[in-house]
Amino acid sequence: MVYKTKKKNLSFQDTIFNLQKYWSKKGCVILQPYDLEVGAGTFHPATTLRSLGPKPWKTAYVQPSRRPTDGRYGDNPNRLQHYYQFQVLIKPSPKEIKKMYLNSLSSIGINYEEHDIRFVEDDWESPTLGAAGLGWEVWCDGMEVSQFTYFQQMAGVECKPVSVEITYGLERLCMFIQNKKSVFDLIWNDEGITYKDVFHKSEKEFSAYNFEYANTDNLFKIFEMLEEETKLLVEKKISLPAYDQCLKCSHVFNILDARGVISVAQRAEYIARIRELTKSIGKVWIESQS
């Protein structure tokens, strides 16, 4: 395989290109990001729903991920309310997945033999997705660069066969590769465009929206409406549109959370409500798979 040379550190976009090429060669369907606000690559239906049921599936894609509470108005060198994940999902999990993963690091200029690569226990659970998995976070010289998870349960359903999910935090990975202390100093392309040029303004404005201006009264109402809509679509047994509404619910909840209007205890209740939606969707999806 021919990747861009290692002489110069890879730009942000080249890192993405290389990962896409690498996983494409491994037989993955290279998808584009899902067109809704989600908290992580896992929420893409190509992962959540496709990991359910008996049919084999391999995919890789970039997913912009929104975590309203992580916004810092663009002031913090390590924190963003919007960032990118590179997501790989393979079902059933292949025997040589570790080798595949380590070689993928080589494809973006990290020679695993020169670094302290560690698979550190990190059992993953997504209460809103009713999902759980066992695996690791992968550390490279103490820096978490990926999540590596064997799904055991999704949408409340036991996974059979088991999928493996690999998630690369692209900004962190690139900061490591490019040796940058601030995410905003990342070199985006060969023309010298930086991450700051592309995203600083939006970090600032979205932080203001998430923390100050989002109309919470309306959002509470919207949550109810979306929840109702999801239930209706589940009744109609159309799982994909139902799942879209559920994703929107989840994002509305995240903004409310960022606005600080949901207490610790109330959170549990909202999360349970979203989980119930996901579970009902999972059920409908599974029925369509066998």
Binding site: D75, L102, D116, I117, V120, Y150, V162, S263, V264, Q266
Partner: protein
């Protein structure tokens, strides 16, 4: 004599699971060998690295001799099919079967000749079963397989007497090969004995033996700290974890910019220990230094590892510093009002509402504790403000502690700061417990407010579910009272908490909450006593009559009786009580109503009079002791009635013909039992 050598190769198994798997494997193989009467070197060991679980036992005989034995078959009257089956399963013929009578009737028998069994065959046949018996605290499935294991199992190497043992374990065939490259799972290599295996890996720098790894890590760390005049905190748990997440440990000393030492040390330590698994260092005065240890799994020949880790901690600490600088100057008092926007719990108002209640409650407690009302009210008002800070958002485990630092920075009274810092302590059975009265008062009011609130909105835990950790809260409450010997009126405090809720417009049923919470807290006290290894019958007795206000008493009395139950004062007390109460219990069935006192005018002899006098002496003792009861002394006094009671029973017949006399004697015994109730109700004690 031969050695058994097994290696289970898998993807990286987490430290705790590894330790557990080692113990399981050791136990299972040991049981198997003992059950089959196979001798072995009892000092054998099970080793592990993240990828390899290794069993090595030597001094196992190659053959075992089994003496001849008679095997019983079906009854002679059983259908012919049974006999055929018996013959088949023993691999024999009809000629070798004989009949024999036993106590249970006449049976067919087969005499199995003495024979030798090859241990190799036995192991090959049973290893799969032995591996199946390993239980994991947490396990997973992968791909299409049905096997549950800590992490995906990739290969099994099994050798006995230098020969491979071939068996099938789920989807895996054992062999004499393993992957020498754990990263890529490549480099298959044959090993025929443990020694060459260990040697091979040692040459590659891989230490299979976890104890050896631990020693090497500790030696290296000690060498460096001695040279640099540093100390590390003894943290077995962290060290054990580190030992089990590396196979070729390399200790690297790193440092971060000294400017971060201005951030409260708890924040730095939490970042290093729980987030990064680094070992922080301290100077001789126990101040945190900017040096820390990283244990790498690779020799850092190019310096990448040190550089990388220093960069990571730098990023994490600058994050923490940023928040600390931002949060510490945010005026705590001015922020109190903002707590109105933060819901404490649906149905229990905001955190602002909560601290209003806590303020009232802690102020009432301050009267009992003789501490300053002003100070505890201030502590209550500001104690939850840190929940709104970025730092607690980042380090939820440091809630309270961070608030304490804010308070200190903003010049609050020392005791107030400490109370804020310790408000969540204790947190369950094991955790540290505050000792200063301001801290105890604040923690008590926090827990009481929560308990009353959750019971008020009917979110009591069920036997299987306790999502809000209410049990832990109640256990913490019990500990606060018992371990600090606080003399508070819990019943009143619960009523008062209810009224604080009612003042805010909550429609709480005080009586109901009081009853339910009482039972709940007393149940927790029982658990607590159980934890302290108090006998179950003593636990039951101590909480039978003593109420919510007597948690401390119940605790101390149980402890005291538990300690003395085999000694004379405990033993005799119970014996005397039992002797009297047995008679009463027998009579109760005939139903005689007792008045609660005997009439001395009806006594017929001195034994009755003496016993009566002694009972009254003991009653006087209990009336006089007040709050400073010495429980051992009380037991001693109770047991001292032994002679009077024995004389009474030896010489007096309770069951007198005259029903009035008989009743009076029963009254006397009833008085005695009631007197014993001053300690506690002994009726549930098993003699």
């Amino acid at each position: 004599m031969s050695e058994l050598f097994v290696e289970l190769f898998s993807e990286e198994i987490p430290a705790k699971l590894q330790i557990n798997a080692r113990n399981e494997l050791k136990k299972n193989i040991k049981n198997f060998l003992i059950d089959n009467q196979i001798k072995f070197n009892e000092n054998f060991n099970v080793y592990s690295t993240p990828n390899r679980l290794v069993l090595h036992i030597d001094k196992i005989p190659n053959e075992i001799k089994i003496n001849s034995e008679e095997i019983r078959g079906p009854n002679v009257n059983a259908p012919e099919k049974a006999l055929e089956g018996f013959i088949r399963s023993n691999n024999t013929t009809l000629e070798k079967i004989f009949k024999k009578s036993t106590e249970k009737g006449e049976f067919y028998f087969f005499k199995k000749e003495s024979r030798t069994i090859k241990v190799y065959d036995l192991l090959e046949k049973n290893l799969s079963e032995i591996l199946t018996k390993i239980t994991w605290n947490k396990s997973m499935k992968w791909a299409n397989y049905d096997l549950y294991w800590g992490r995906p199992l990739k290969s099994i190497l099994a050798i006995f007497n230098k020969k491979p043992l071939n068996f099938v374990f789920n989807h895996i065939n054992s062999s004499n090969k393993t992957f020498t490259d754990k990263s890529l799972e490549e480099g298959l290599k044959i090993f025929n004995d443990f020694n060459s295996y260990i040697k091979f890996f040692k040459q590659k720098g891989v230490l299979i033996d976890q104890d050896l790894r631990k020693k090497i890590i500790q030696n290296k760390i000690n060498e460096i700290i001695n040279k640099k005049n540093l100390k590390i905190e003894q943290n077995e748990r962290l060290v054990d974890e580190i030992v089990n997440i590396v196979e070729k440990p390399a200790v690297i000393i790193c440092n971060f910019d000294k400017k971060f030492l201005n951030v409260p040390s708890e924040i730095l330590i939490t970042t290093m220990q729980s987030h990064q698994k680094y070992l922080p260092t301290f100077d001789k005065k126990n101040n945190l230094t900017n040096n820390f240890f990283v244990v790498s799994d690779i020799k850092d020949t190019k310096g990448f590892v040190k550089l990388g880790n220093e960069r990571v901690i730098e990023a994490r600490l600058s994050d923490a510093e940023f928040f600390w600088e931002k949060n510490k100057t945010q005026n705590l008092v001015k922020q109190v009002d903002k707590l109105k926007n933060i819901n404490y719990f649906k149905g229990l108002g905001s955190y602002f509402d909560k601290i209003q209640r806590m303020r009232k409650l802690s102020s009432l407690i301050s009267d009992d504790f003789l501490i300053s009302k002003d100070k505890i009210e201030i502590a209550s008002s500001i104690c939850k403000v840190d929940l709104m800070s970025d730092l607690v958002g980042e380090f939820p485990e440091l809630q309270g502690i961070v608030g304490g630092h804010f308070a200190k920075f903003q010049g609050f009274d020392k005791e107030v700061c400490l109370a804020v810092s310790e408000q969540y302590l204790p947190n369950g059975m094991e955790s540290k417990i505050p000792k200063k009265m301001y801290s105890v008062a604040l923690s008590l009011s926090d827990k009481l407010d929560s308990l009353v609130g959750f019971f008020g909105i009917n979110l009591k835990p069920t036997s299987s579910k306790d999502p809000y950790a209410i049990r832990r809260m109640a256990i913490s409450l019990v500990r606060l009272i018992v371990e600090n010997e606080t003399k508070i009126k819990l019943k009143d405090l619960i009523v008062y908490t209810c009224s604080a809720y009612r003042d805010q417009g909550y429609d709480f049923d005080t009586k109901k909450i009081q009853n339910e919470l009482s039972d709940f807290i007393i149940e927790r006290l029982k658990n607590y006593l159980k934890e302290k290894k108090i006998r179950q019958d003593i636990i039951e007795s101590s909480t039978f009559l003593l109420g919510l206000d007597d948690l401390l008493k119940a605790y101390k009395k149980s402890l005291c009786l538990n300690k003395n139950i085999k000694k004379e004062i405990g033993f005799e007390t119970i014996a005397v009580y039992k002797r009297s109460s047995n008679i009463l219990n027998a009579e109760e069935k005939i139903s005689i109503e007792t008045l609660g006192f005997a009439d001395p005018g009806l006594f017929k002899n001195d034994y009755e009079k003496k016993l009566y006098k002694k009972i009254n002496d003991i009653r006087k003792y209990f009336l006089s002791i007040g709050k400073d009861e010495n429980y051992e002394e009380s037991l001693k006094i109770l047991s001292s009635i032994k002679n009077e009671v024995n004389d009474f029973f030896d010489n007096v017949i309770v069951n007198d013909e005259d029903i009035i006399i008989k009743k009076n004697r029963l009254e006397l015994l009833n008085m005695l039992c009631k007197t014993f109730d001053n300690y506690f109700n002994f009726s549930k004690i098993e003699a």
